[in-house]
Symmetry: C2
Subunit: 233 residues, 2 copies
């Protein structure tokens, strides 16, 4: 697992898009390799945003914590995805925590270094702005979802998003290649564990999905999309 094997991660990353290959190699040479154990935290909400990460191996979850202790699962990240983009700006704090679901390997860059890079390659600044804009849009869509859709619909959309993002096709159906418990799902769609369990059982009876241990096997993705749109079937 030599450092140079990480180059494709960088060439395909949204933030470093559009600069030359030698530059990519230079950027890689600046990277630190940071690992995290299962359940370990790569980022803690409220701490100064110093570092930008790109995930190489493993999966992590972005958690938003409230003053009162309740937590919300904002999104999952998989290999090739970045987080902590806000580190490009000085004086900010991380708005979320990032916790490793499995043992993780990441590439990491410090904020000052990034500032220099942006100065040299303004395109990277634009890319960052683009990344934030996309994040904003997704958040807005989900905000809307939360306000207007029922739990079952939101769960269906969540599973659709997850399969699209990290789906892995197997002979039996599509499986998300990241361990996700019912409780994770509950925190992700904003409901409770028993409710998720109930809805999945129901869908399993209809043959749309198969509820597995810490994961869900999707048999009929198109039916899931339908469930996400229709009010109450």
């Amino acid at each position: 697992m030599s450092r140079s094997s990480f180059l494709p991660i960088i060439t395909q990353s949204p933030v470093f898009q559009g600069v030359s290959l030698p530059t990519h190699q230079r950027i890689l040479s600046f990277a630190q390799i940071v690992e995290a154990d299962q359940q370990g935290f790569l980022i803690r909400q409220g701490y100064p945003a110093t570092t930008l990460y790109i995930l190489v191996h493993g999966h992590a979850r972005l958690l938003h914590l409230a003053h009162d202790g309740s937590q919300v699962l904002v999104r999952f990240v998989g290999p090739g995805q970045e987080f902590g983009v806000i580190a490009l700006l000085s004086g900010f704090e991380y708005p979320v925590s990032v916790q490793a679901v499995e043992a993780c390997v990441t590439l990491a860059w410090q904020g000052e270094l990034l500032a220099q890079l942006v100065e040299e390659y303004p395109l990277i600044g634009f890319n960052a702005l683009r990344a934030m804009a996309l994040q904003n849009q997704e958040l807005l869509d989900r905000y809307q979802e939360l306000l207007t859709e029922h739990v079952a619909q939101r769960l269906a959309q969540a599973l659709s998003r997850l399969t699209e993002q990290m789906g892995h096709t197997t002979p039996d159906g599509t499986l998300v290649d990241c361990p996700i418990s019912r409780e994770d799902l509950a925190e992700y769609v904003g409901t409770t564990l028993p409710t998720v369990s109930r809805i999945l059982s129901q869908w399993e009876r209809c043959g749309v999905v198969v509820a597995k241990w810490k994961s869900v096997l999707i048999l009929r993705p198109q039916d899931l999309e339908r469930l996400a749109t229709q009010p109450q079937p």
Copy 2:
């Protein structure tokens, strides 16, 4: 109402922060003055993001529409606040619609012009990134709120935010100087008109607020904050 009277709007605007006065004057000279009638739309969701606006007079609301027609009130904007920051990036669509609550006057800049400005003054790019980051954080906080708090708490927080953002102190109490109907409030906190009405009546009986015609007079802001935190009083 001459053009030059708009200069303070620009010098105090977050996106144009940190450049010299002559530059501010130059930026102002590039601006178009765009007006909107009551109920008129300055921005329509889904259209190409071509223009950045700063509100000079009046108030507007940012609406997010869903495929199914339901709409959510994302936030209100008042004089001095900007919207359509995404126009700095080419190839994007507006993620929200912006509708004038009252007759509005705005300063507007086209995307290409902004791109040139950013090239000349990279600081403006940073400012934009900062603005988006702040928006992101607020959205995240409200996302969390939606998932974990009850309607009454969310309404209390909404009113707190509104008074902080556009509050106007009067002899009787604090009043938001923008006409907001119960239905607006309902769309803002993600509930229905009757529910808002019921909660406000209840608070009025406790003497925390006074429900007025198309507005709410806040008598005891600190009690409102308390209501926003406490589960169910």
